[in-house]
Amino acid sequence: MQQLIYWLIHIACILGIVLVMVLYLILAERKIMGYMQARIGPNRVGPLGLLQTVADGIKFLHKEMIYPERADLFLFILAPMISLICAFVVWSVVPFADGWVLADVDAGALLVLALTSLGSYGLLLGGWASNSQYAFFGAIRSMAQVISYEIAMGFSLVPVLMLSGSMNLSTIVVAQSGNLLTWNFLPLFPVFIVYLIASVAETNRAPFDITEGESEIVAGYQVEYSGFIFAMFFIAEYANMIFVSTLASLFFLGGWLSPFQGIPMLDTLFSWVPSIFWLLVKVILFLYLFIWVRATFPRYRYDKLMMIGWKICIPVSLIWIFVVSLLMLGGVL
């Protein structure tokens, strides 16, 4: 019983943090994109526009939900729920600091990969159940893209698992401890880049957002959605974004490890900083990169996108698996 209450509190904490982060990630995205386009961005609701997303959420709640006449209503409503649930469940295996993890699963990395792939069922079902051409095209594109980049993403994580010799996320982080140079991003730099590209594609973000492609297929799989059920897709997308960033920092940037670890003076100077702070800093770094990339690059053409996935990302990560195994055999890594 006590254990159950502890779990519930833990879950509530994680959900609360993730939802608040989603709230302010949306605002931060609009602000940063604004700044990069020489504008100011939303600044009217609340001080500095901090309540803008709250106001948007209330607007979504008040809006009428419109269901297409010929839609498969059950799947139509189920789809955003699948997206949202998968986007939240993955957080259960994420270690926020040493021992701060809800489910210390040994195959955590596998579970994460499985759940992120399952989340794309939401997009597929949403596009299919809408019974609309644009939504259907969006779903097809989304599937093709997710399948292609899932491979690249999986392969790019293999060297990480090889180096740490474990699929437990906490162990992966601990295996990187030492100093800044022992984090995985240095020996696995090409794979790190491949992972970043694949994660942008996995979350259907610009420049890989052909799923939405508003200039061609209006809004893709979510074209028929309105009101709060649209907001669910929206929240799921941003929660996924935060999750993928967290995963990148766990796998490649040493998770909660302090960047000053192993440096004689600074190590003791910053020892009072809670380790979750360093994780947060790294996650924010990646989130900024995501927004920055979205503000910079135009959307890739469909065939180019596939070309990058199959002809660059997958070969590079495959080759790097061999390089890493050779280096491990040679005792360098």
Binding site: L181, T182, I193
Partner: protein
């Protein structure tokens, strides 16, 4: 297989940098082998150049005008809301010559005139339909006494049907409110630097 035994158990030392460099070089070599034009892409050089463009824009001053508080500068010749002016002694300028009514291409002006008690000819009705008015400024050009003018005021609106007709009282009132600006602008335009 200890073919480079000197590096054994050096995970955590600067050797990683050499490994990363080797990785970069191998990536570049692969890129060259596959296709030459991909070098820029695969080394992400072109992408980083693009990222720098947006980042430097983000750090530069913003072009936003925060509208209700700030306004764009308006030219003194801007043709906005219409107004009727008065002389400095308070006498209305309009002499009811109806030249503006005649020249108005949109037929927005309706004028009726009658002699006043002192014998001078004055308008009894001077209506401008703001729905018809195209703000061309021909009435201002045709006016021999500089009575009807276009003010630089652009933020005006009507909330009810019928309010689109600006009567003589309203036009004179607008003229009184904007007289300072009008007089200054016209003096400057006359000097040639407006």
């Amino acid at each position: 297989m200890d073919f480079c035994g000197i590096f054994t158990d050096v995970r955590g030392s600067a050797v990683n940098i050499y490994i990363a460099l080797a990785g970069l070089i191998i990536t570049v070599v692969i890129a060259v082998i596959i296709k030459n034009q991909w070098v820029g892409r695969v080394t992400l050089y072109e992408l980083i150049k693009g990222l720098w463009v947006t980042q430097s824009t983000a750090l530069s001053p913003k072009a936003t005008i925060q509208f209700p508080e700030e306004n764009l500068p308006v030219s003194p010749r801007f043709r906005g809301l219409l107004a009727l002016r008065r002389y400095p002694n308070g006498e209305e300028r309009c002499i009811g010559c109806k030249l503006c009514e005649a020249t108005c291409p949109a037929l927005a002006i309706t004028i009726e005139t009658a002699p006043r008690d002192d014998g001078s000819r004055r308008t009894t009705r001077f209506d401008i339909d703001m729905f018809k008015c195209i703000n061309c400024g021909l009435c201002e050009q045709s006016c021999p006494v500089d009575s009807i003018v276009l003010t630089p005021e652009q933020h005006y609106t009507v909330n009810d049907r019928g309010l689109n007709i600006l009567t003589k009282d309203k036009l004179l009132k607008i003229g009184e409110i904007t007289e300072d600006r009008l007089a200054k602008d016209r003096a400057n335009i006359h000097k040639g630097d407006g």
